[in-house]
Symmetry: C2
Subunit: 100 residues, 2 copies
DNA sequence: CGTGTAAGGAATTCTGACACG
DNA sequence: CGTGTAAGGAATTCTGACACG
């Protein structure tokens, strides 16, 4: 759950190299609540590999002309999908434990 | 193989927070060839989660009073172990493929 | 040997704003 | 709406060196 993929350790300049997005764009997508970087005590943003993946998805959508508002909805529903999946898996595990 | 664990994206300040080691120590262990950060075009060091794990091991050894030279040998032999393991696994896979 | 520190320079990141459209 | 840019300040990182032991 709290694996390397989700640890916030990448600075914005590196995210720029990884995604090809400008610093302005990366900050703007945060402003539009599409990503959630953490802040160090000093205030610099830190991103996870998961954030980088999301940014890559955002870049694709933007190229198709999709607006940030729509992209946010898409991201949220795909997240809802993951949560549902996790809940179902939990139910399944409980079921099989009972019949083990 | 080239997963998130081995991608060099963490700057030295973040490694310091993750490991508790001083910048001086982190740089010194590189000088002693215990870790291998990459460099950006500008020259700043970038570390992977794998490097962070190695640094944690180094810190433990150092507390026991082990010298960097000895630690390097330990790290190399444990790496040799991993390589051997990978080779064996390759052999096993080949074997079972033949008898599938 | 391993680590601290002061030194000076170069690149990074931050915010708020103006611009274009 | 989405993105570029110039602006000024603050913190980061780098290297080579002196210090202690």
């Amino acid at each position: 759950m709290s694996s390397y993929k989700h640890k916030k350790v990448i600075s914005i300049g590196t995210v720029n190299e990884l995604t090809g997005l400008s610093l302005r764009q990366i900050r703007y997508y945060e402003e539009r609540i599409l990503i959630y970087p953490e802040r160090t005590k000093r205030g610099t943003r830190k991103y996870s590999f998961s954030d980088v993946e999301t940014l890559l998805q955002i870049a694709d959508k933007r190229e198709e002309g999709v607006q940030t508002y729509e992209i946010r909805k898409d991201l949220q529903s795909s997240n809802k999908g993951k949560v549902m999946e996790r809940m179902l898996r939990g139910q399944l595990n409980a079921h099989f434990r009972m019949n083990k």
